[in-house]
């Protein structure tokens, strides 16, 4: 798959079909990949595909001019489609290099499973439905549900539906979709007062780095409401109340756009389980409007279109 990707990417640049390629190259730490954004055909030799290509590359599309060839896993492709729906990206300006994705390895889970830090591990590989971690020369086997990201266990579209070049055999969705994840299920069993305490505690440590927002392709506002000072919707001071309001509003703003790629939770440096909010919103959007974001580029954006017949008086 990697060889095909490198060849296709190189050809796209050589034939001047794109100005830039967005993909992944090896990262500088063990078990990491890092985004590669380049217009140089020689750089395409560095492109990789492996279980650690965690970033949602669609995030870079709105900041880039010209035509772009982009490596897309299922979730990335849904974000691209969502951006097309919102008129943020023109379909003819992107060449989607589709990666059928078997799920990505969650290093935080692996660390908890083996009780070691990621840089203390010798190797992490996948063999069919097993993830094999080598620690101190010994191999340990884990199941996919133990080792993959929660959002990968809930993935409905491992292979992009919208693409230009398919890089491998399409993969079916996971047989047993774990649509909510343990955190959400547990949270839903608690009393509202307990849940309030839970979130108060979680948001107390938010440092307002905005990595959740900036890593999110659906958060494409040129100017975020948190940065407005007249009027000031929310204080830029990292108090739990303001942090919580920021995240709730962000969540509502991405309703119908969030594709459950899990990036917000992954990038959070202080471990706030943000996907427990976004996934719940995703499920609600599905239940209320039968809408799954990023599945159909012809579909009108859920929250950004209006029809005369709609019953709400507010918009008439």
């Amino acid at each position: 798959m990697e060889q095909k990707l490198r060849q296709e990417a190189k050809t796209l640049l050589e034939q001047n079909k794109v100005d830039r390629i967005i993909g992944f190259e090896p990262g500088s730490l063990k078990f990491t990949a890092t985004p590669l954004i380049t217009g140089d055909k020689n750089d395409t030799e560095r492109l990789i595909i492996n279980p650690f290509i965690v970033n949602n590359l669609a995030d870079f599309l709105t900041g880039i001019e010209g035509r772009v060839g982009i490596v897309a896993k299922g979730c990335d492709s849904r974000s691209i489609v969502s951006l097309i729906q919102d008129n943020k990206v023109a379909r003819e300006n992107v060449v989607i290099l589709a990666v059928p994705c078997p799920g990505l390895i969650d290093l935080a889970k692996i660390e908890r499973l083996v009780g070691k830090n990621r840089d203390e591990l010798d190797d992490i590989t996948r063999d069919g439905d097993k993830i094999i971690v080598t620690v101190d020369g010994k191999k340990k086997e884990f199941s996919l549900s133990q080792a993959l990201f929660d959002h990968c266990l809930a993935c409905e579209l491992p292979t992009p539906q919208e693409y230009d070049i398919l890089l491998g055999e399409p993969r079916p969705p996971a047989p047993e979709l774990q649509t909510s994840g343990q955190n959400i299920t547990k949270l839903k069993e608690t009393l509202p007062t307990e849940r309030w305490e839970f979130w108060k505690n979680e948001f107390s440590r938010c440092i307002r780095c905005y990595a959740c927002r900036n890593a999110c392709p659906a958060c494409f506002c040129q100017r975020c409401f948190v940065e407005e000072t007249e009027p000031q919707w929310v204080m830029p001071v990292p108090r739990w109340q303001d942090n919580l309001i920021f995240q709730i509003v962000r969540n509502i703003h991405v309703a119908g756009r969030c594709t459950d790629c899990g990036e917000c939770e992954r990038v959070c440096p202080v471990n706030i389980p943000l996907r427990s909010l976004t996934r719940e919103m995703y499920n609600m959007v599905d239940e209320l409007f039968s809408f799954k974001s990023g599945m159909d580029k012809e579909a009108l954006p859920l929250m950004a279109h209006y029809e005369q017949e709609e019953a709400e008086d507010l918009f008439r």
Binding site: G27, L29, L36, G63, E202, S204, I207, A211, P236, E263
Partner: protein
């Protein structure tokens, strides 16, 4: 005078003793993220998991958010009420050498032409008890940045891991005084010094990431206008605040008023030059494009700080590398800065 030592299992007793005189801070995950937190009187579990905190210990002196004063509009202008200065004597237990050096670097700014009372009131009475690293991270590069995993330079006391015990190195007068008053410490045995030397060497050798900073100030000066280089360098940055807010030497803060009717509070809180609306309050951020902000971050640490204070404002703690959502690696960037001959204008 021979060195003292303390058993790892007696650390709780030691901290308990010190708690009578100081507000003791120690590494903790209680909040859900590793940080220096007020010691709860019993937890020494950090001895098992602690490599470094996510939240740098600068937060003990420059909190994420602090109230500067309260104001109320009166008949003749504003009445200002300043909260009492927080002059509690803090003892930070377990500071890593990289972070201790970082605090010495931040001190330079807060003690410069303007003395910052909020920071200095907390800092001046603080005792730093360092804890030498035994297991540096893959992202650490302290040995290239003027310090090392067991460097005692910027702490009052330094603890070196010698197996079941820590050898205590008394560094400053403050540290010596504290040890003189501390009970139940053991005298170091003859071979403890040798064990400490070995422990230091092992830790030093485990820092495998190296960075050559020779001539970096000049290279950055030469490449300042190389837009192509900076655009390429900044391409994958997502402009979040992780690498700056969680950097132990970054000290920028924002000031905000929260006002209801005629009264309110002025806060300051961490800010980041990576944010598009940084320094927006006077007018506009002169660094609208991302590459200019990324350049600022790099230059401030490796060019401007050396120009002002003769020291690079980076200690190789590696947080920015470990925590970056896109693996933007400062060491790779510094290595790739063009020199005078290569830089494009």
């Amino acid at each position: 005078m021979a060195d003292k030592k303390v058993s790892k299992k007696d650390i709780a007793r030691l901290l308990e003793q010190w708690s009578r005189q100081f507000t003791v801070f120690a590494p903790s995950k209680e909040s859900g993220v590793a940080a220096m937190a007020e010691w709860d009187g019993k937890d020494t579990g950090f001895l098992d998991w602690y490599r470094n905190t996510i939240i740098p210990p600068k937060a003990s002196f420059l909190p994420q958010m602090e109230e500067m004063f309260h104001f109320q509009k009166g008949e003749e202008g504003y009445n200002i009420k300043t909260p009492p200065a927080d002059e509690r004597s803090r003892l930070l237990f377990g500071v890593r050498p990289c972070d201790a050096r970082a605090m010495a670097i931040v001190d330079m700014t807060f003690k410069d032409a303007y003395e910052d009372p909020y920071y200095l009131s907390k800092r001046k009475n603080a005792v730093l008890v360092g804890l030498g690293c035994t297991n540096p991270c893959e992202s650490c590069f302290c040995t290239s940045m003027g310090t090392n995993p067991t460097d005692q330079t910027n702490v009052d006391l330094m603890l070196i891991d010698i197996g079941d015990e820590f050898l205590i190195e008394e560094v400053t007068a403050k540290g010596k005084e504290l040890i003189a008053k501390t009970k139940d410490l053991k005298e170091a045995a003859k071979n403890d010094e040798a064990k400490a030397t070995q422990s230091k060497k092992t830790a030093y050798d485990r820092v495998t990431r190296k960075l050559d900073t020779e001539g970096i100030k000049d290279r950055l000066l030469a490449s300042f206008d190389d837009k192509e280089y900076w655009e390429q360098t900044a391409a994958k940055c997502i402009s979040c605040g992780i690498c700056t807010l969680l950097c132990p030497t970054c000290y920028c803060f924002d000031i905000n008023d929260e006002m209801v009717k005629q009264e309110g509070t002025r806060f300051r809180s961490w800010d980041s030059c990576g944010f598009p609306n940084y320094t927006k309050m006077p007018m506009e951020n002169p660094r609208q494009e991302k590459w200019r902000r990324v350049r600022q971050k790099v230059c401030h640490k490796y060019e401007f700080y050396p120009m002002t204070f003769d020291v690079i404002a980076c200690t190789g703690c590696g947080r920015c590398i470990r925590l970056c959502p896109v693996n933007w690696d400062i060491t790779r960037v510094i290595e790739s800065v063009p020199d005078k001959a290569e830089a494009k204008k």
